[in-house]
């Protein structure tokens, strides 16, 4: 029995280390490529800085100095659209989540309504892009941050409703009831009792929808083309240049785009796990 246990342990660690290597290698490649020169990228691949190639900061010079304006724009667009759409979606969605968690609903019931919200998330985005294009053309919202933020907000709300309802159901209702008995109005309860208690849930959901909007590609492709393009679209356009792709610059831009969301996500890992699995994990 003991021997079997040890064998299982060895196999387990082998599997885990193998997957760690598979996950790590592309990240490693992204990091070293961003310090490579044109010579080190074209031709035979080079693996080790200082051994295979001489690392340099020219890609970061390109981003932060010589082409600052061109690169800063998509970053600004992504930041503004992701933050504003997520803030509005968080506000609207968690209100509905609270309503569905605390009040009784007839017909399909509050869980039925919540599921109807969630099912919106499952529909293909392909069925949305054409009407958005038509409406935005008439409303003058094409290629604007506002337009993109509105679309992202619509896309995030169903998810917020689903996850926050689940979160509010886990909060003790007795605290709210005793506050009401003490004379608090529903608004006082919401702002002074519920809001502080639900802060971890709100932060987690905000991070999740923010990451979603930050990485979103299709709507950006359809609704923006020059002024309001976001980082994913900017990166994809850069790979299709006919002048030869500057992989070192692209790597550096990707790296800068990836670091903030990965840091935020992993730092709040404890809180977002539940949301990442749509509340399937308690």
């Amino acid at each position: 029995m003991k021997k079997q246990g040890r064998a299982a342990l060895v196999v387990s660690y082998a599997v885990l280390i193998l997957w760690t290597v598979i996950l790590f290698f592309p990240i490693y490649w992204l990091v070293i490529t961003s310090f490579k020169t044109a010579v080190a990228v074209s031709g035979m691949p080079t693996y080790l800085p200082w051994v295979d190639f001489q690392p340099g900061l020219h890609a970061f010079e390109y981003i932060f100095v010589s082409n600052r304006n061109m690169v800063a724009r998509p970053f600004l667009n992504s930041t503004v659209t992701a933050l504003s759409s997520s803030a509005v979606a968080l506000f609207i969605g968690s209100m509905a989540g609270y309503s569905l968690a605390r009040f009784r609903f007839g017909g399909p019931g509050s869980s039925g309504i919540a599921f109807a919200f969630l099912s919106q998330r499952m529909f293909p985005t392909a069925v949305l892009i054409i009407p958005f294009l038509l409406m935005y053309r008439d409303l003058g919202l094409l290629d604007t941050r506002q337009g993109l933020a509105i679309a992202y907000c619509g896309f995030s709300v169903p998810f917020v409703v689903w996850v926050m309802r689940d979160f509010f159901l886990g909060l003790p209702v007795e605290v709210e009831e005793s506050a009401m008995i003490d004379g608090c109005s529903r608004l006082d309860v919401l702002t002074k009792v519920v809001l502080p208690l639900s802060a971890p849930g709100l932060v987690a959901v905000f991070i999740l929808i923010m990451i979603g909007a930050w990485n979103e590609y299709l709507f950006s492709l359809v609704l923006t083309f020059s002024e309001a393009i976001t980082i994913p679209l900017f990166l994809q356009i850069q790979t299709q240049t006919t002048l030869g792709t500057a992989w070192w610059n692209l790597s550096a831009i990707s790296l800068i785009a990836v670091i903030p969301v990965v840091v935020a996500g992993l730092a709040l890992e404890r809180y977002i796990t539940r949301g990442l699995t749509f509340g399937a994990i308690k």
Partner: protein
């Protein structure tokens, strides 16, 4: 919360504050904005797409009146190869990438369940792909690592004395490359779901199995896997519905090529509906994807119903 001192001063009931609303009012005030957003930004556009698919609307035909043509655009979705090929590619992609990420997720989750040392590190690190932009990871894996002449994967194959692989120029390999990128990215979701599933399994069947002298392999096949059925089906369903929508990694890694070997339905809707302007045809194709997805979900849920019921 109020301090005890202020409580006494306050009027006993909220109604006396003037602006008090009943719970029945609050219930709707809180819910309605989200309903308005969902109806306005999701349901209305979906209905509009359905309407567009029944017309001869063209994006660049300014001034020409749009007329209703009934189901005229629909037969083309099932007869024209410009839509049939993307539909086939998308189904192949889903059937390739979802089971791959499930098997990776199951192996890693089982391994995580065995160990105690370093468990937290692995768990957190394995979540990392879910935060990374699909476009960025498609760039790194699809365009750099799998680059046929400058990429390290082919370089390593050559050093090992193996033939190089045409990752992006061979139609079959191009699809496999997309599946590799997707598996790298999405196995994290499977790992999360299945790790949680394993942790919530009841202990009694295992104790009974030990008493009966069942081996590890038997325990896995006859206890663990059947008990995981509900979590597995949920995870497979969520992942499949997501994989049907694939567009960003296709656009970056292969651009739908070589030829149309990896063009997905969503990319076809964009290329033919938006870029070429034939939105009526594109709308019909978009709806065909919705129909494929609903049919797939129904089949998956029906086929697995027995296992899920047995587990619960």
């Amino acid at each position: 919360m109020q301090t005890p001192g202020t409580e006494a001063v306050r009027p006993p009931v909220a109604a006396s504050r003037g602006v008090a609303l009943t719970d029945a009012a609050w219930k709707w005030i809180l819910l309605v904005p989200a309903v308005v957003v969902v109806v306005g930004l999701l349901l209305f556009p979906m209905a509009m797409t359905l309407y567009v698919s029944l017309t001869d609307w063209h994006l660049y035909a300014y001034g020409r009146p749009v007329s209703f043509v009934g189901l005229q655009n629909w037969p083309r979705v099932v007869t024209d190869i410009t839509f049939l090929i993307p539909a086939r590619n998308t189904v192949v992609f889903v059937l390739g990438s979802v089971p791959t990420s499930y098997l990776i997720g199951l192996s890693v989750a089982l391994a995580l369940n065995q160990i105690t040392k370093g468990r937290r590190f692995f768990r957190v690190f394995f979540m990392m792909p879910l935060m990374i932009s699909p476009v960025a990871i498609s760039l790194v894996i699809g365009r750099m690592l799998l680059h046929e002449s400058m990429g390290p994967i082919n370089d390593i194959l050559v050093r090992l004395g193996l033939p190089i692989v045409h990752w992006l120029t061979d139609p079959t390999m191009a699809m496999i490359s997309l599946i590799i990128v997707d598996a790298w990215h999405q196995s994290a979701f499977m790992i999360l779901m299945l790790t949680a599933g394993l942790q919530s399994l009841p202990q009694e069947p295992y104790e009974a199995a030990t008493v009966d002298g069942a081996g590890k392999w038997q325990t896995f096949w006859y206890i663990t896997l059947p008990l995981l059925a509900p979590v597995s089906v949920t995870a497979l369903l969520i992942r499949s519905l997501d994989a049907f929508k694939v567009v960003d990694i296709v656009k970056v890694v292969t651009g739908g090529g070589p030829g149309t070997a990896t063009e997905s339905v969503t990319l076809a809707v964009y290329d033919l509906g938006v870029k070429a302007g034939d939105i009526a045809q594109g709308a019909a194709a978009a709806y065909s994807l919705l129909i494929i997805m609903m049919a797939f979900s129904a089949v998956l849920l029906l086929a697995t119903r027995r296992w899920v019921r047995q587990a619960s």
